[in-house]
């Protein structure tokens, strides 16, 4: 029973925080002096990008624990976190390009540091999910996706380092996505990130439960198959 009310508690928190953060982002904070109201995308863009990094971090940790303990529970957590992660990563990229379009007139600023990393993470997510779609057996799916998520996780900082190499050679203007942040804006940002973190946690709990239910169902069908019902 603990699981259920934990799920409702986290979901409730997520809803409350989301409402507050929407209020903060849209009404409470003043429009940005240079960019105007469109800057309000910034809060949820950063929040969803942050969730995609967090989700991939959890996938990495869960994969390590799976490889050590060979317990499918960790593999389910890794997979659910990756699925939620790719959704928020896609949202982050879309909002990022929308914001870039409105401020710099171009959909995608290649050299912007954060957008580049989010794109690399997005591709790694897609590869991870494609790998799981093509795995042959349950164990090989768990093993191979765990290994790939570790490789992917190691490659993120390396691609950041590599970014500095070819940045040095072709330095283009690094879009300053930060800008001056007043106190109220910082508050709105914190709330947006907190809201999304709770949202992520509740989605993760729900998603893991669904996976566990699916596996239980499979087991029952297996047994029923034996009874040649």
């Amino acid at each position: 029973m603990l699981k259920n009310n934990l799920k409702f508690a986290v979901f409730g928190l997520a809803v409350i925080f989301t409402l507050i953060s929407i209020y903060l982002a849209l009404i409470y904070t003043p429009p940005h002096e240079t960019m105007g109201d469109v800057q309000r995308i910034f809060y949820f863009h950063v929040a969803s990008a942050w969730i995609s990094y967090l989700a991939f971090g959890i996938t990495f940790v869960a994969s390590l624990l799976y490889l050590k303990s060979k317990d499918y529970k960790w593999d389910t957590i890794a997979f659910s976190s990756a699925e939620i992660g790719i959704i928020f990563c896609t949202l982050g990229i879309i909002t990022g390009s929308l914001w870039a379009k409105s401020v710099w007139g171009v959909f995608w600023i290649w050299e912007d540091f954060k957008l580049f990393v989010t794109l690399v993470l997005w591709l790694v997510f897609i590869a991870y999910l494609a790998l799981r779609a093509n795995a042959k057996s349950r164990t090989s799916k768990a093993n191979l996706s765990a290994v790939f998520s570790i490789i992917g996780f190691v490659c993120i900082p390396i691609s950041l380092g590599a970014n500095r190499i070819w940045q040095q050679f072709h330095p283009t203007v690094i879009a300053s996505s930060g800008g001056s942040l007043q106190a109220s804006m910082a508050l709105a940002l914190v709330f947006a990130v907190l809201a999304f973190t709770f949202l992520y946690m509740s989605l993760l709990l729900i998603r893991v439960d669904i996976e566990i239910m699916k596996e239980k169902l499979e087991k029952i069908k297996q047994k029923l198959g034996g009874l040649n019902v």
Binding site: V120, L123, A130, F148, I165, W166
Partner: protein
């Protein structure tokens, strides 16, 4: 250690006998260089600017598709269990195969570079620094390509899965940095000028080899 040597020799012998990897690499790289050359010839473009990316894309895609049979072969011939049976660690299998592929692919790349300079009338840069940077980049491609090929050979549609898994992990790290360093070499830089970046990419290679060395056990044990 002699297990690594045994696998290294075995890989070379098997490869030179059935030439799966060599043929696919040469043909693919030739196609890529030719298609770039004639695709670009319709527009006026300054050659030296495009030399390094085209060279590295043919290395990248040639290497990627030629790495796909190395573990697939073992599974299809059923010899994978033979290796699992032996009292050797999977890491030595990985190292043996890695060194053998490195040797084969590096020789193929030297050959491809000849073709490249025939197709592209680019001023020949300082050969020594070009070869070192190509070698460093190839170590990265082959070491990561080896572990990803091990993963994809256990998946269905492994030929499709190899590039899908390899590009996000390899393109942004080794390939793009090698392209930028090679473009400097083409622009006339000598080894000393690019030493700092070369050491950086070498660090990536060491990380990839270490990751492969540690994780191969989980891939090969069924």
């Amino acid at each position: 250690m002699n297990a690594v040597k045994a696998i290294f020799i075995k890989e070379l012998m098997v490869e030179f006998r059935n030439k799966q990897m060599i043929n696919s690499y040469l043909i693919l790289s030739l196609m890529i260089i030719a298609s770039f050359r004639f695709a670009f010839s319709v527009i006026d473009f300054s050659l030296s600017q495009f030399a390094s990316p085209i060279l590295w894309i043919s290395f990248f895609f040639g290497g990627m598709f030629s790495l796909s049979p190395i573990y697939k072969r073992e599974i299809e011939q059923g010899t994978r269990e033979g290796l699992l049976l032996a009292p050797i660690s999977s890491s030595s299998i990985y190292l043996g195969k890695l060194l053998a592929n490195l040797l084969i692919i590096f020789c193929l790349e030297l050959f491809i570079m000849l073709i490249f300079f025939v197709f592209f009338p680019v001023g020949i840069p300082d050969i020594f620094s070009l070869i070192t940077i190509v070698a460093i980049g190839t170590i990265g491609i082959v070491s990561l390509g080896n572990i990803i090929s091990a993963i994809s050979s256990n998946l269905s549609q492994s030929e499709v899965m190899l590039p899908v898994l390899l590009v996000p992990v390899l393109l942004f790290t080794v390939v793009m940095s090698s392209i930028s360093v090679t473009s400097n070499v083409f622009a006339g830089a000598y080894l000393l000028d690019i030493m700092q970046e070369a050491r950086f990419i070498l660090a990536f290679d060491v990380v990839f080899i270490a990751v492969g060395y540690l994780l191969i056990d989980y891939i090969l044990e069924n």
